[in-house]
Amino acid sequence: MADLTSDFLGIKSPNPFWLASAPPTDKEYNVRRAFEAGWGGVVWKTLGLDPHIVNVNGPRYGAIWGADRRLLGLNNIELITDRPLEVNLQEIKMVKRDYPDRAMVVSLMVPCEEAPWRFILEKVEDTGADAVELNFGCPHGMSERGMGSAVGQVPEYIEMVTRWAKANTRMPVIVKLTPNITDIRKPAAAAKAGGADAVSLINTINSITSVNLDLFAPEPTIDGKGAHGGYCGPAVKPIALNMVAEIARDADLVGLPVSGIGGITTWRDAAEFMALGAGNVQVCTAAMTYGFKIVQEMISGLSEYMDEKGFSSVNEIVGRAVPNCSDWQHLNLNYVAKAKIDQELCIKCGRCYAACEDTSHQAIAMSDDRVFSVKDDECVACNLCVNVCPVEDCITMEAMTPGQTDPRTGRVVEPDYANWTTHPNNPAAEAAE
């Protein structure tokens, strides 16, 4: 069993799996159960000033499902904690006292003035919490009141509030970013400029999951009306991964610790975020879908993977894929591959044929007795057939070796790397010296 101990900003936890600030971390009862189940840490449900906010009394969630009604995307219109500040602070203190080895981070959201930030930071410090996370991400409800993503969408505000927070506490400050912007590097840079110890991302994405076609109203519908919510769950993982990688690759942001969030459901998702630069990860929807027990699979899975790879610390995964995260213009245009269909595994559904014939390159042949085979002289190796095939590993991409002739282009596969920047078709190509 590999050592999964995590050290994020000096905050120790037995594993890098934290629960994100959300209903799973809303109160003492939940957090104790989460720690008993094995979670390494929690970011407590966002606290605000009294009088506490209220939530709607109708449905808060909408969803997108895959086959077998597997939940793929979840949307919510829930606000921050709807319980009094003192109640939350008392509970945080008691839980931290009983679980000193777990990370206890407290999420905060108060109006955009220094006084309320000073006020609440003092209170949180008294609980013995390890750090605070500034919620600049919530995209609904709170943003209408000038908080949450209303702050997160304006880099100047991010920098200003982060500075206040740093000035008023000894605790590490994590800034949680909203994805509802065009370039994630800008808010991340603002957080860094304000002195943030780390950023966490992503918060939820503005979304309407579905429309009720009888009521003609967005779901979830409250008395005939709906409002946009925040989208999360497996569906947002690719968006979140890209944003984490953008920050990890940016020269000015190098070294800024990242806590990865967004659609993490399995140990593998977590490892992928870490490989792209996240020092640890936070989970919400997966826990809300399957319960706290999933952390057991995350722990055993990551541990087995690390043993297999011979990694002795989770830090060996962190950022390992960043150097291979490139730009399109630097991809090797001399690399040539062809799709290959394993006839033993093929179940003859013909989906590869429909996809390639109707929408791609007419590179799959179909015989009268339903044998499907790739026409190497047409295949551009786009990977669509691999992606639509229902059988794992039935269609694979085989790289051609240098010296072979690509039957599609009639050109010999070159051994050397060459990219778009020097390609003759590129009007801006730099002539090779």
């Binding site: 009604r69 003859k348 059988v391």
Partner: protein
């Protein structure tokens, strides 16, 4: 009170409650949830092999996708536009040798998509809503006689009516439906579904039902030809093959099809069945007679087939069903004599190899009731024949101009409900095209 041990052919071996349980729906309609889960498994294959395997070419991936997206009534229309008896076929088709055998998920995991049950889900939903989704074209003034109200005749009549022709359906019986009504096992089509389906089909309009009209007895082919613009024969196979052995006429030796027809029409607790029943044959009729005799309360039911198990016409699913109900299956034995004193007491079989060569050994089985299920035959002449069936070319054209035939009575194709529907439908299209041209 009789019970299972009572000797002879008696009624009331089981309580009404036991009978009701035994003859309950074999595969009840899927719930909404089950249908969603089942439909999610369809891969929406390109040029799907299941479509090719269906004799009526139903666009299966399309109708399953329509179920998956919450529109079962649209799914039903997809089904019914190819197969107007899609509801019955969903219940009786041997899907394990048709669409589901071809399903790529049978190849992938040995678990095909539940096509038959999904088809039933869709068609039941539509019919429960009382919707008949087809309407008639403008009247053509043409009149067509359809003889036989089985699946072939009904499918032909509906398609012709849809095209705007006026159709008279003549049948020797008092009730329409053919073997849907008188042959199919009771547990496959419960709650009077066969009649309900015919009533629903007739909603198209333009079809006149003429019961008690037997071709050859009440009316001749010549007369029909004179009175109508075209004639379609969907006569099925009304005759029953004899055993041709000594004692075949003893009391207690019966035709399986008659026993089954009584089962479908009568009150189950009033129906008599033997204690020791022997069924001779290896097809669907033999299995249905054996299984239903067992379900009625017969103590011992043995099905005896003259060739090996692999050559039985009944599908593996049917054979397993029989075995699971407690029917004993003996293969490679052919009847040589029916013994008894007036009534049958024993039946004697010779063991034979697959070429029916006797091994020299025989076996006797106790029997107070014996069912013949060794095939049905056509009782009709006047047209060119192909073996024992009416010879046809193209879409059911017989040797006589203006006369078409389809279903079990016509040569070619398996003797299945779905094949009869396909042939009836295609003949209708051909009749329509021919009349239009004339």
């Amino acid at each position: 009170m009789a019970d299972q041990l009572s000797a002879g052919i008696v009624a009331g071996r089981l309580s009404p409650e036991e009978l009701e349980a035994n003859f309950a729906d074999l595969h009840p309609r899927l719930s909404d949830h089950e249908a969603l889960v089942a439909s999610d498994r369809c891969y929406f294959c390109h040029d799907a092999p299941c479509i090719t395997a269906c004799p009526t070419d139903i666009d299966i991936p399309l109708f399953i996708r329509q179920i998956a997206t919450g529109t079962p009534e649209a799914a039903a229309k997809t089904i019914l536009s190819q197969n107007i008896l899609g509801g019955m076929c969903a219940r009786v088709c041997p899907t394990e040798t048709l669409c589901e055998e071809a399903c790529v998920r049978e190849a992938a995991e040995g678990k095909p998509v539940k096509i038959g049950q999904l088809q039933r889900y869709a068609t039941d939903t539509l019919m429960a809503a009382g919707i008949h989704p087809f309407s008639r074209a403008a009247p053509t003034g043409r009149r067509i006689a359809v003889v036989g109200a089985g699946p072939a005749g009904l499918a032909c009549a509906h398609r012709l009516a849809m095209k705007g022709h006026d159709v008279d359906i003549l049948d020797a019986r008092e009730k329409p439906g053919g073997l849907n009504e008188f042959g199919i096992a009771a547990y496959k089509t419960v709650d009077g579904f066969a009649q309900a389906e015919v009533d629903w089909l007739m909603q198209i309009g333009g079809i006149t039902w003429k019961p008690g009209q037997m071709l050859g007895r009440d009316v001749t082919l010549e007369a029909l030809k004179g009175a109508y613009d075209a004639v379609f024969l969907g006569l099925g196979l009304a005759g029953v093959n004899a055993l041709g052995v000594e004692g075949d006429d003893r009391k207690g030796v019966l035709d399986a099809v008659d026993f089954i027809a009584d089962l479908r029409q009568g009150d189950l607790s009033g129906l008599s069945v033997g204690r020791d029943v022997v069924v001779i044959g290896g097809g669907m009729t033999a299995v249905d007679a054996a299984v239903q005799a067992k379900l009625l309360g017969a103590l011992n039911v043995t099905l005896v087939y003259r060739r090996s198990r692999a050559r039985m016409n009944a599908s593996v699913f049917e054979q397993d069903l029989a075995a699971s109900k407690g029917v004993r299956i003996i293969c490679n034995a052919q009847p040589v004599a029916v013994h008894g004193n007036g009534a049958v007491r024993e039946i004697e079989f010779a063991y034979v190899d697959d070429d029916l060569k006797e091994t020299g050994e025989t076996v006797r089985l106790a029997a107070d009731q014996v069912f013949r299920a060794i095939g049905q035959s056509l009782e009709f002449d006047g047209l060119a024949m192909d073996g024992r069936k009416i010879a046809v070319t193209g879409a059911g054209r017989t040797s006589m101009d203006g006369v078409w035939a389809g279903g079990d009575c016509a040569a070619g194709g398996d003797d299945l409900t779905v094949t009869a529907v396909a042939e009836g439908r295609d003949a209708a299209e051909d009749i329509h095209a021919t009349l239009g041209a004339g």
